[in-house]
C-alpha cells in the first residue's frame, strides 16, 4: 500500500506544550501505523476558530484561513489539507466555501493576500478532518487489521460534539446520531455506549471562558449521560470537547455535588493503544484524569 500523504494543519492547540499536544502525539503515532504522512503547512497561522468573530469580523477572519490555504498550495500543491482540530477544519472549510461562492469575499481575499504576495491558485484543495481520512481513505477494515491489543471489556461513550459534526458532518453521517465514533470504538475492540443521547450536544465550546457556568452545565449533562450509559471513559475527536469535558470535572463536582472522574481521550489515543503502542506514544501521559484502564492495556 502506497504511503498516503496530506498537507497537515495542526492548529494552535496541538503545538508543543499546548492544550492538545497529546492529540498531536497520538495522531502521529497512528499515522505511523497506518502509513500516513502528514506534511505540515509551513508557517501556518491560527484560524481564529469561531470565537474570533467578535474581533475579526468576516473578511479578516476568512483571510486567516485563506493564508493557510495559499501556503498549503505553495508547499504541497493540491494535497488535501487535513486538520485534527474541529475548529481548524471547520474554519478552513468554511473559508474555502465562502471564497468559492461569494465573489465579494473572493476579491477581498485576493486583495488581502496580495499584500503579502501570495495567492490562491486555481481550485483550492479539499479540506478534511483527520477522521475523514481514517474512515474514507484508510477504511474501518484496514484500521481494524492493525489492532493488536483489542480494548476488550471497555465501555466507551463516543462524544462527537458539535463542530466535527455540524455543519459538514463526517462520512455522510447524520447530525443527530452520527455513528462513526461508535464504529471506531468497535473496531478497537471496545463497546460503545448505545443511545448516548448527548453524543452530538454542545460542550459550550469557546463560551467556557466567558460563560463558564452555562458551559459547565452543558458539560455536566454530557458526562452524566455517559455515566448513565455505563461508560468507563469518553472518547472524542475534538480538542475543545476533550479539554472542556475533561478539565472542568472538578469544578462541576464542586458546583453540583457530583463525583465525576471519567477519563476523556482522543480516538487517536484509543487507536494507538489498540495498535499495540506504548503509553507515551499514545500520549496517555497527557490525561489529566488518567485513563488507567488504557494504561494497563498499553503495559501488557
Amino acid at each position: 500500500m502506497a504511503k498516503r500523504e496530506y498537507s497537515f494543519y495542526p492548529g494552535c492547540s496541538s503545538q508543543s506544550k499546548a492544550s492538545s499536544v497529546n492529540y498531536l502525539k497520538s495522531t502521529q503515532t497512528i499515522c505511523e501505523e497506518l502509513d500516513i504522512q502528514l506534511n505540515e503547512i509551513p508557517d501556518w497561522n491560527c484560524c481564529s476558530a469561531s470565537i474570533g468573530y467578535g474581533g475579526g469580523g468576516e473578511l479578516p477572519r476568512i483571510s486567516l484561513s485563506a493564508r493557510n490555504i495559499a501556503l498549503s498550495q505553495q508547499a504541497h500543491g493540491q494535497q488535501d489539507i487535513v486538520a485534527t482540530c474541529a475548529a481548524c477544519w471547520l474554519a478552513t472549510r468554511e473559508a474555502k466555501e465562502r471564497i468559492e461562492h461569494d465573489g465579494e469575499v473572493r476579491s477581498g481575499i485576493d486583495a488581502a493576500l496580495g499584500e503579502i504576495g501570495i495567492k490562491i491558485e486555481g481550485e483550492m484543495p479539499k479540506t478534511r478532518h483527520m477522521v475523514e481520512v481514517l474512515i474514507e481513505d484508510v477504511g474501518y477494515e484496514e484500521m481494524q487489521s492493525k489492532v493488536k491489543k483489542p480494548l476488550e471489556g471497555l465501555k466507551i461513550a463516543g462524544y462527537v460534539g458539535c463542530q466535527t459534526n455540524r455543519p459538514f458532518g463526517i462520512d455522510g453521517e447524520s447530525y443527530e446520531n452520527p455513528k462513526y465514533l461508535d464504529k471506531m470504538i468497535e473496531i478497537v475492540g471496545a463497546e460503545p455506549v448505545e443511545k448516548y443521547e448527548k453524543k452530538a450536544s454542545c460542550c459550550g465550546g469557546a463560551l467556557m471562558f466567558s460563560e463558564p457556568e452555562k458551559s459547565q452545565a452543558l458539560v455536566k449533562d454530557i458526562i452524566e449521560a455517559a455515566y448513565d450509559g455505563g461508560a468507563d471513559m469518553i472518547v472524542t475527536p475534538c480538542p475543545v470537547c476533550q479539554m472542556n469535558v475533561e478539565v472542568y470535572q472538578g469544578h462541576i463536582n464542586k458546583t453540583y455535588g457530583t463525583k465525576f472522574k471519567i477519563p476523556v481521550v482522543y480516538y487517536s489515543t484509543l487507536m494507538a493503544v489498540a495498535f499495540g503502542r506504548n503509553g507515551k506514544d499514545a500520549a496517555l501521559d497527557g490525561q489529566m484524569i488518567r485513563a488507567t484502564r488504557l494504561e494497563e492495556i498499553a503495559k501488557k
Binding site: 463542530q163 465550546g205 466567558s210
Partner: protein
C-alpha cells in the same frame, strides 16, 4: 458625521432590515426566516437568550434596531451549528448571529459588560499578535478582563485546571515570555489590515 451608528440610521431611513442586509455577514438571509422556531429550540444556550434567533429575525423586520443590536443574545452563540443543521430554510443562523454581534460591536452598541464580546476580542488580539494563540496569555488576560481583583479570584479558582494542564504537559508557563509564533507576523498583520480596510470601507462612507 462621525457617529457610524447615527449614519446607519439615516442611510437606511430607519429600515433596519435593509441595514442588516447591507452590513451584516449573511444578513441577506434574514428575510427568508419563516418563523418556525427550530433554531430557538435547538440552541444549547437557548434558555439564556433574551431574544432567540428567530425572534431577532422578527425584530429586525419589525425595525427594533436598538433592542436587537443592544442585546446580549447573539453573544450567547456557542457556534455549535445546531441551528444551521436544522433550519428548514437553510439560513446560516450561526453566521448571522456572529455577524450581528460584530456589527453591534463596531457600532459600539453591544452591552458594555458582555463577557463573550470581551473575550472574543481578547482572543482575536491574542492570535493576531503572533499569528498563533498563546493559551496562557489568553487565559490570563481573560481572568483579568474584569479588573485585577476579579482576575486574581478567577485565577485562583482556575488554579487546579492550570496545574493539571501543566503537569500533563499541556500548558507551558514559559509562554508568558512570548510563546508560539509564526515567522511572518509582519505579513500577517499587513494582510489583516488590508482585510479590515476593505470591510471598514463598506461602512466608512457613512461615517462622514
Amino acid at each position: 458625521m462621525s457617529n457610524p451608528n447615527q449614519a446607519m440610521v439615516e442611510k437606511y431611513r430607519s429600515n433596519f432590515l435593509k441595514e442588516v442586509e447591507a452590513n451584516v455577514e449573511e444578513g441577506h438571509w434574514v428575510k427568508m426566516c419563516m418563523q418556525c422556531g427550530v433554531c430557538s429550540g435547538s440552541c444549547p444556550l437557548g434558555p439564556h437568550w433574551e431574544h432567540p434567533p428567530q425572534e431577532i429575525f422578527m425584530m429586525i423586520r419589525a425595525g427594533k434596531r436598538e433592542e436587537v443590536l443592544g442585546s446580549s443574545s447573539m453573544w450567547m452563540c456557542t457556534s455549535c451549528y445546531n441551528c444551521i443543521a436544522r433550519c428548514p430554510r437553510g439560513l446560516p443562523i450561526t453566521h448571522i448571529m456572529h455577524g450581528l454581534a460584530t456589527y453591534a460591536k463596531r457600532l459600539g452598541l453591544q452591552p458594555k459588560t458582555q463577557p463573550t464580546a470581551k473575550f472574543s476580542q481578547l482572543f482575536w488580539s491574542n492570535l493576531t499578535k503572533t499569528g498563533r494563540v498563546n493559551e496562557l496569555k489568553l487565559g490570563l488576560s481573560l481572568y483579568f478582563m474584569n479588573g485585577f481583583a476579579n482576575g486574581i479570584k478567577t485565577a485562583l479558582k482556575m488554579q487546579d485546571v492550570g496545574l493539571g494542564m501543566y503537569k500533563t504537559g499541556r500548558l507551558n508557563p514559559l509562554e508568558i515570555l512570548g510563546g508560539h509564533s509564526i515567522k511572518d507576523t509582519g505579513g500577517l498583520q499587513k494582510m489583516l489590515k488590508k482585510a479590515f480596510e476593505i470591510e471598514e470601507a463598506k461602512i466608512a462612507e457613512y461615517k462622514g
